[in-house]
Symmetry: C2
Amino acid sequence: MTTTTYTVTGMTCAHCVASVTEELGEIAGVTDVAVDLGSGAVTVTSDRQLDPTKVRTAVEEAGYQLVG
Amino acid sequence: MTTTTYTVTGMTCAHCVASVTEELGEIAGVTDVAVDLGSGAVTVTSDRQLDPTKVRTAVEEAGYQLVG
């Protein structure tokens, strides 16, 4: 299992959290996504190493920005 | 046609706008809903006088507050 925490900006409400969670959850290998709305911390658990580009793309497709 | 503008607080993003629009659109007689996210102004057009309680309930069911 791999767990990585990213910072995502632009999420303002529970709908935003749901959108990010849904997009990240569609990446192959992802088993859990936990979002802290206040801090923008998004913790992704997966059964393999994830391609950072896929993570960034998923966040952007949801309409938000990955920091870093 | 009747057009009334309400002020709704708590909307922070396009998802919130969509939720409020959807709930208000379900009230019988409503023909159009226009939301200005920045100001919270929600303009409802209907083919009859709306029961203010129904408008308030719809906004609250979406998860937001009607001012006044």
